[in-house]
């Protein structure tokens, strides 16, 4: 009797987990399957598997819709943006943890303030005005400057990390006559390598997925759109016309698949990064 209860219990557990897995995977799989269907099939059939696998949506995406350019933009924004974001949170964490300077408390407070003041999408507009005044509207630089992380919760995670490493090395180097720049670049950064690894993945992913800033900044110059924005802009311009679904699904798949592939190899670090944040919550 007990054995049966155990068996039913186990069956229930796996049923739940497998059902949830299917729900998670289904939209991703649907996007890929749909992108391999000819347009005629997308318009008439509502099945999951393609009757006939075609690559025409992808050839159209690259030849007519300039998706290679959009992918290039996304890669550029995410890689340059990650380096700048990483430098920002690392240098702030390092200085707040180990250095004494006037206005440190005020700096800490203003970082906290920007985290808790929820102005939401309003902040897009003053940032856009700055770019306009600098004459940067329509440039790739403006997208990078607005999409990066300047300061945020990550600063405090880095601060805690640098604090946990102690000040001894830093002080010894300081006595040996190392300047602050040398200490940051030759001691601080190598010390934070494991953290930099984890957060680089997180920043890269965040910028790759970022939507609103690149969306409002590329109304006038669509050539500099990152991939996700280009797909949504294409959807907006075609309205409800189902004839472009093949192209849209190809674009969505191109935006989604690289993230999935990278995640397969890096999930351990990503998940540990999130959990570390959760423990400090």
């Amino acid at each position: 009797m007990r054995k049966y209860i155990k068996l039913i219990q186990n069956a229930g557990i796996y049923l739940f987990l497998i059902t949830l897995s299917i729900i998670v995977l289904f939209p991703i799989a649907f996007s890929i399957m749909g992108s391999l269907k000819p347009v005629s099939e997308l318009l008439t059939d509502s099945g999951f598997w393609p009757h006939k696998v075609v690559w025409s949506n992808y050839t159209r995406a690259f030849k007519e819709a300039n998706f290679l350019g959009y992918i290039g933009n996304s890669v550029l924004y995410a890689s340059v943006g990650t380096v700048i974001s990483m430098f920002n949170v690392c240098v702030l964490g390092f200085c707040i943890a180990n250095q004494e300077f006037i206005g440190k408390k005020a700096l800490r407070l203003s970082i906290l303030a920007t985290m808790f003041v929820a102005l939401g999408p309003m902040t897009l507009y003053p940032k856009l005005e700055i770019m306009r005044n600098l004459g940067l509207t329509g440039t790739r630089l403006s997208i990078i400057l607005g999409t990066i992380t300047t300061a945020g919760a990550e600063v405090f995670i880095f601060e805690a990390y640098f604090k946990s490493q102690g000040r001894a090395i830093d002080e010894a180097a300081s006595l040996d006559g190392c300047s602050l720049f040398q200490r940051f670049f030759y001691i601080g950064i190598p010390l934070a390598k494991p953290m930099i690894g984890t957060f680089s993945i997180i920043f890269f992913n965040r910028i790759w997925n970022d939507f609103f800033w690149p969306y409002v900044m590329t109304f006038t110059n669509t050539r500099i759109q990152p991939l996700v924005v280009a797909v949504i802009a294409l959807k907006d311009s075609t309205g409800e016309a189902a004839t472009e679904w093949g192209l849209l699904l190809a674009g969505a798949s191109l935006a989604i698949l690289p993230v999935v592939v990278v995640y397969v190899f890096t999930s351990r670090w990503v998940i540990s990064g999130v959990t570390e944040g959760a423990v400090k919550m």
């Binding site: 998670v24 991703i28 970082i111």
Partner: protein, 303 residues
């Protein structure tokens, strides 16, 4: 003596500021300046083209005239509804998933990794895929639902308020439940193992252990996770930006999307001054609720 002290301190601050300079400039322009901008322009009439005119508290008077400004205040009602329904669906789902994948299930790392994945995908691309799956002509989900007799064939789920609202909630749950699952897992691994062991020695069943150990031990952590989820929802635009554009009418327009539409309207002129005032009022409301949450969680830690 004092002045030389502070001069020394100032001299010692110089290298730090040199090292921080590029970051601080970016942080001021992209982080601090928008807040100052909002505090200034909430007192102005400003449409982006003509010269801004100082109007004092007029914008706020407009906002707190509840009748003529009803679209904004009803957006808060919707946002609260969204927060409550989403949390009510998401938290139990996340808790059950966390419980199962932190047990002795085979493939638990696989399931854990998979359930978190939606969180890192480009959500706007995913919402667009959802939109195609839900289209009334041959959407795969609409097809299944009409086969099961839940809806009539050709029913447009996204153009009816109640179904559109629910779909937005479910889409966002799809994105976020894995994150809350990880939070719960972090809490579950903090429960000391020997509590379970001594319960097993006393002959407690799985169910007894769940209800008498796990759930009571997780109560505080759960409160934090639930409130974090609720506060997060207040700032959400949800999937509605892609799926319904806030429609039909304004019926799926959450507060932050209402603010977005004041700044980037389609067709009408933007009202940046009024928009800034609305954003300030909204930030105060969110800040107030967040402060309550902080107070409650701090109280919980000292209990």
């Amino acid at each position: 003596m004092r002045s030389s002290d502070s001069a020394k301190k100032l001299r010692r601050s110089v290298p730090a500021y040199l090292l921080l300079a590029p970051t601080l400039i970016l942080f001021f322009a992209m982080g601090i300046y928008p807040i100052i901008w909002a505090l200034k322009y909430c007192l102005y009439n400003y449409d982006g083209t003509t010269v801004p005119i100082y109007v004092g508290l007029n914008n706020f008077r407009k906002i707190f005239d509840f009748h003529s400004f009803a679209t904004y205040w009803t957006s808060w009602g919707r946002t609260l509804m969204y927060a409550l329904i989403k949390t009510a669906i998401e938290i139990p789902l996340a808790f059950i998933s966390a419980l199962l994948v932190s047990g002795k299930v085979r493939g638990r790392t696989f399931f854990k990794t998979l359930f978190y994945m939606p969180q890192i995908l480009p959500s706007f691309a995913i919402f667009m895929v959802f939109g195609i799956m839900l289209n009334p002509f041959n959407g795969i989900i609409t097809g299944y639902l009409s086969k099961m007799g839940v809806i009539t064939p050709g029913y447009n789920l996204l153009s009816h308020t109640s179904t559109a609202f629910l779909i937005g909630v479910l889409s966002d749950t799809w994105i976020f439940f894995g994150l809350n699952m990880l939070f719960f897992i972090a809490g579950l691994t903090n429960i000391p193992k020997d509590v379970y062991e001594s319960a097993s020695v006393d002959g407690a069943t799985d169910m007894q252990r769940l209800f008498y150990i796990t759930i009571p031990m997780m109560a505080r952590m759960s409160q934090v996770i639930i409130m974090l989820s609720l506060v997060g929802c207040l700032k959400a635009m949800g999937s509605y930006f892609i799926l319904t554009k806030g429609g039909p009418g304004h019926s799926t327009e959450l507060t932050f999307m209402y603010i977005y539409n004041l700044f980037f309207p389609s067709g009408t002129t933007a009202q940046y001054g009024l928009g800034a005032a609305v954003a300030v009022v909204s930030a105060v409301i969110v800040g107030f609720i967040t402060a309550i949450y902080q107070l409650v969680t701090e109280r919980m830690q000292y209990d």
